[in-house]
Symmetry: C2
């Protein structure tokens, strides 16, 4: 059998002008252009490539693209087998470059780029094995799964042996859960209704459409102005009725005392969770908020930089919902570490998604979590946002409010060739046309 060798890494700057419609707008990110620093791993086998991306919201994407180029020497020239033989070790190498770690370490631009590279390797691996990524991981032995993980800096919360014990306990029943996922899918929720930039009547209409489409969880953005938040929350609660779940997302807008005071007002709409009430770096702040506003749960994670922050959020009882992000964390390997810690601490993982490609990634991760780690649907929902899926060769599929298991080989992120060309920044036709439009106004 030919060994697969990575011959090159192509880094692309792909951006969608979503700020034109205020899709994705929130209290801190008022004009996002959903973007991807996109990595293509070329190999010696014709037609076999690994695709991976990290998600950003516009400016700054060029820095992640530059980081992909700066890090490419760590993967180009390697055989796939030399990586997968010790994937945990490879992951540590990527995150431990003796010079580059200074500009992280394991955070921000270089960690976002790490995710794109790691996920591209996983895509290549899964395509080579002709399995969807989730199935590849579900089929591994418990020992193989712990071999994927770098336990550095988390061994005080989760040892290799504890991780093994979790995986072994679930091993005999994983096939039954896999079949259940094939039949029933995994529960999702939608954020499409409540972007901060949307007018009230659009929110009302989207709520009704959401209910008709089978959604039971509705999330809205808050944080810019309390009076405005109260009005919009009232609209959504009125539309979805008392039984369906309502979640708030403050996108880091508040200080600790402010979060507590505002949530005491917003509590009248019986929210299930408040997401990102304050700085993603503030473990102790989240813990103080969590204590003050129970029974409302605190949720965070989409901007939590790495497993060390998640470890502390769990240790400090700071979150009741663990919102891992498939690109903010350093790819599948670090996501698995966080999912295993969450399992040990009894906290449900409810992944962040939306953006561009995040739903496609998350679709795999939730299948792994249910089949191998959590073995439960209780209090678990994965985010789904219904835009930009049309750019992927194998977009995630949601039916009646549930994600269905991906079937195509790979990690699901391969973008259509025409989308990569059209939304290349700044020279793709979508951007040159926009520039012309703006100039004509």
């Amino acid at each position: 059998m030919t060994s697969i060798r990575i011959l090159g890494l192509e880094a692309l700057d792909i951006r969608f002008p979503t700020s034109d419609e205020l899709d994705g707008s929130d209290a801190m990110h008022s004009d996002p252009d959903y973007s991807a620093a996109y990595a293509v791993l070329r190999t010696n086998v014709p037609g076999l490539e690994g695709h991976g991306l990290t998600f950003t919201i516009g400016r700054g994407n060029e820095l992640c693209v530059a980081a992909l180029r700066s890090m490419s020497h760590m993967v180009v020239g390697r055989t796939l087998e030399s990586i997968t033989r010790d994937f945990g070790g490879f992951w540590r190498t990527l995150t431990s470059d003796t010079q580059m770690r200074w500009v992280g370490p394991e955070k921000g631009v270089i960690h976002l780029a790490t995710a794109a590279i790691v996920n591209a390797v996983w895509d290549l691996y899964a395509k080579h094995e002709r399995k969807p990524l989730w199935k590849l991981v579900v089929d591994m032995t418990p020992e193989e799964v712990v071999g994927l993980i770098d336990f550095r800096y988390i061994s005080d919360a989760l040892t290799r042996d504890e991780a093994l014990a979790i995986l072994r306990a679930n091993e005999p029943t994983k096939r039954a859960r896999e079949l259940e996922l094939q039949k029933r899918g995994y529960p999702a929720y939608t954020t499409s209704a409540g972007w901060l930039g949307y007018p009230d009547d659009k929110i009302r209409r989207l709520c009704r459409e959401g209910i008709a489409a089978g959604w039971n969880h509705f999330k809205i953005k808050v944080g810019a102005d309390l009076k405005d938040d109260l009005r919009r929350a009232a609209i959504v609660r009125e539309e979805i009725g008392p039984e369906r779940k309502l979640m708030f997302d403050a996108n880091q807008r508040w200080d600790v005392a402010e979060a507590i005071a505002n949530m005491r007002e917003l509590a009248r709409f019986q929210p299930w969770w408040i997401e990102e009430p304050t700085s993603p770096d503030d473990v102790l702040g989240h813990a103080a908020i969590a204590k003050a506003i129970q029974p409302i749960g605190v949720a965070t994670g989409e901007q939590c930089q790495n497993r060390v922050i998640f470890k502390q959020l769990l240790q400090a009882n700071a979150i009741r919902f663990c919102q891992i992000d498939s690109c903010r964390l350093g790819g599948v390997n670090e996501v698995l570490a966080v999912m295993l810690m969450a399992k040990k601490f009894g906290v449900p993982v409810c992944p962040h998604a939306g953006g561009v490609g995040l739903c496609e990634y998350v679709n795999h991760l939730i299948m792994i979590d249910y089949a191998r780690i959590s073995a439960s649907f209780d209090d678990r929902v994965a985010e789904f946002v219904s835009h930009l899926h049309e750019h992927f060769e194998n977009p995630s599929v949601v039916a009646s409010g549930r994600y269905l298991p991906p079937v195509a080989p790979g990690y699901g992120i391969t973008m259509k060739r025409e989308s990569l060309a059209r939304f290349a920044y700044p020279d793709g036709p979508a951007w040159t046309a926009r520039t012309k439009r703006v100039a004509q106004r």
Copy 2:
């Protein structure tokens, strides 16, 4: 009076091939090439420029340089007066770009670049006022100083009013302390002796030279191998005697339990502090270590990403020494926030320095801390490393183990024109010559 307008930001990639001599080597960074992402703010006034840099150790410096370019639109075109009129507001603008914050926020590459820009503005401001930076800040009113600070995410630990109270209490005596600094300087310590890559006889020789030069604090790198650490610690303790202070620096090499176990062994050499025992992101880990190894103090900060992490380290009693970094934090403004929090929590600030330019920066910051904030020398020492100072127009001056107050206008970081040319990466003569040397081996 002409208003000063910033017309351009020039971003330079400057690197020194320090890895040739293993200067600065430690357990995680075995081959540093001390580097600077260097910003020059051009103005409408001939000869008046603001210079700032952020320090890195080689690869990855290009990402900080790229970030300077990506952020330049936030400063180019502004008048100096429009910035200094509301410097806290300007700082928040720089760190809150609605798209770019996604690849941070306030951490890693973009926050390092923020430091270079903010510090370049301070340099311009101080040069324009014809004062060394420390003197400019010491001369401000308490109200002006709190106006420099963005209290977002720290108000649960330090309010604007609390900061004002600290500054006002010290106001009547600040001139006396200023005079004292002019006379006596500020206590320093050296790390020049104990880089991990140095052989034993070099360590011994450097200890003797250090004592002869008047040093009373000696720091050595540990963490790669316990047996090796014990041997090197014994050499240094033997050379410096029982009275002088010995500090260890593990550069994040250990997990929490490992740090505790190793420090129980190293305790026999009566260390004053252990620096960076584990991940810089691990507030709770540092707290656990601090509790287990007292009376040895825990020190950290050089890779603590922002004021939110420092806030928590202080809230959790995780550090006994607060090692702010002039470039890791987002420039003077955020450093002041951390110094004020440290004062409130009663923790001495012992700045990280070394690298290239960090001593030059720190020289100003310690003067501000003593004159305005801490008003104490107790348990306070600032790091000093004796290399690369020759590249600066106004290098920091240390005599008899004490930093002397800078006298030249500005923030002290302006590099000599010939050094900027010679060490430009990758095309400066220092690098082209090195490439030739390596090729000839």
